[in-house]
Symmetry: C2
Subunit: 225 residues, 2 copies
C-alpha cells in the first residue's frame, strides 16, 4: 500500500470477525486515523467483544462498545407479532432468533450519530453483497440509499465505505493478505457460531463458509507462486 | 371525515404531545386499525409516557413503549467528543442535552422494524417542516429518503405518513378540530417542558409555541363563525 493516506478519521463498525477485522486494517491503510465501534446485543457471545477489543488494542485503534441490547425488545417477546413463531434455538445454517430485520441500518445509524458527534465523516462497514445471505441490508443499493438518508438527517456529508462489497470469502482472505494481516485475521478473529476464535469449531455454518474461502484462497495462491 | 377507511393497519410514533396525538386521531380517521409506539430515553419526563398511555387507552389504541435509554450513551458521556462541551441544564428555548442528531431517524427505524415484524406497512410520524426548529430530520426530503432506505433495508414497501409536514401550530390545532378532538388535544396532551399537561406551565418555549398557535387558530375561527 503505497497510496498516500487520507488525512481524515474513519470510524469502523467492528465485531472482531474476519470481515470487520479486514475492514479495520483496510481503514488503517487508507486513513490517517481510525476508530472502532462494536455493538453488543442479546445473545451475542460476550467473548466476541473481548476478541474485538484485543484486535483493536493490537492495532492501536481506540475502541468503544455500544450496548444495543434493546434489540431484544424487538424480537422474542410480546412486542413481536404473536402469530410469528420464534425459534427456540438458533437454526443450523441460519441466524439467531435475536436477528432483527434492518439491523445493519440500526448499527450504521448509531455509528453515524457517534461519528457526527466526533466530527468524523468516514464510516467503514464490512457488508458484502456477494455473501449477503439473503439480507437486503447488505446490498450496495441499500448502503447508498442509507448514505443519503444519513446525510439528510444530519445535514452533513458522510461517506460509507464498504471495501468488501464485491468480495466473496476468498476475496476477503486475499485482501487481508494484501494488507499484510493474513495471520492476524486467520488466528485472532472470531467468526465461529460456537465462540471459538481463529479456526473455530470447524463445523458450524460460519466456520464452513470461512474455511471454504480460505481453502480456495490458499490453493489459488499456491498455483500462482 | 367521510372518506372510506383504508383496510390496513398504521403504526403511529406517539409521544402524547399535541402533534403526535393529532396524528393518532388522523390515523384513526384513515385506517381501519391503528397501533401506537412510544420511546422512552434519558431525561424524558416519565409522566409523558403515562400521558401517552392514557390518551391511547381513551382512543382504544394498542400502545407499546420501547426503551431507547441507550441514546444517553451517545450524549453526555465518554463516548462523545471530549472537546464538545455539553450543557449542564437544558438551555432555555433549546433542547435537552440528551438531544441526539438523527434522533428521528433512529425512532422511525425502530418503529419500522417493529412494524415489519407485525406485518404493518404504514408508519405515521408527527414531524413538521414548518416548525422544524432547525432539525434537518424533520424535513420532507429526509423523510422521503428514509422511506426508500427502510424499504431497501427490509425489502418491503413502507409508507411513511406525515400529516403535519406542511402545517404550523395553528394548522395543527385546525386539524385536531376537523378531526373532532380539539378538546382532547387541548386538555389531555403534554407538550410543556416542565411536564404540566394541557395548557402547561405557560412560559416555557414549548408552551409559548403551542399557545401562540392556539390563539391564532381561535381568533381565525371566531372571524369565520
Amino acid at each position: 500500500m503505497t497510496n498516500k493516506k487520507l488525512q481524515e478519521t474513519a470510524l469502523v463498525c467492528f465485531s472482531g470477525g474476519q470481515d470487520s477485522t479486514t475492514c479495520l486494517y483496510w481503514a488503517l491503510s487508507r486513513f490517517e486515523s481510525v476508530q472502532a465501534v462494536s455493538f453488543v446485543y442479546g445473545q451475542k457471545h460476550a467473548l466476541e467483544v473481548e476478541v474485538a477489543r484485543r484486535i483493536a488494542e493490537r492495532a492501536q485503534v481506540p475502541f468503544e462498545v455500544l450496548d444495543l441490547s434493546l434489540l431484544s425488545q424487538l424480537t422474542d417477546n410480546a412486542l413481536t407479532n404473536p402469530a410469528m413463531k420464534m425459534d427456540e434455538e438458533q437454526p443450523a445454517g441460519s441466524y439467531p432468533n435475536t436477528f432483527v430485520p434492518g439491523r445493519n441500518m440500526i448499527f450504521l445509524t448509531f455509528a453515524a450519530v457517534l461519528a457526527f458527534q466526533r466530527g468524523i465523516r468516514h464510516l467503514v462497514a464490512g457488508v458484502s453483497q456477494a455473501d449477503f445471505s439473503g439480507y437486503p441490508d447488505c446490498r450496495d443499493t441499500f448502503i447508498r440509499s442509507l448514505n443519503v438518508s444519513l446525510n439528510l438527517a444530519m445535514d452533513t456529508s458522510f461517506e460509507i465505505h464498504t471495501p468488501l462489497m464485491r468480495l466473496d470469502k476468498e476475496g476477503v482472505w486475499a485482501l487481508s493478505d494484501e494488507l499484510g494481516v493474513f495471520d492476524v485475521v486467520r488466528y485472532e478473529t472470531l467468526t465461529c457460531y460456537n465462540g471459538i476464535p481463529g479456526e473455530g469449531c470447524g463445523h458450524c455454518p460460519a466456520c464452513n463458509l470461512r474455511r471454504h474461502g480460505l481453502e480456495r484462497y490458499l490453493s489459488r495462491k499456491k498455483r500462482t507462486e
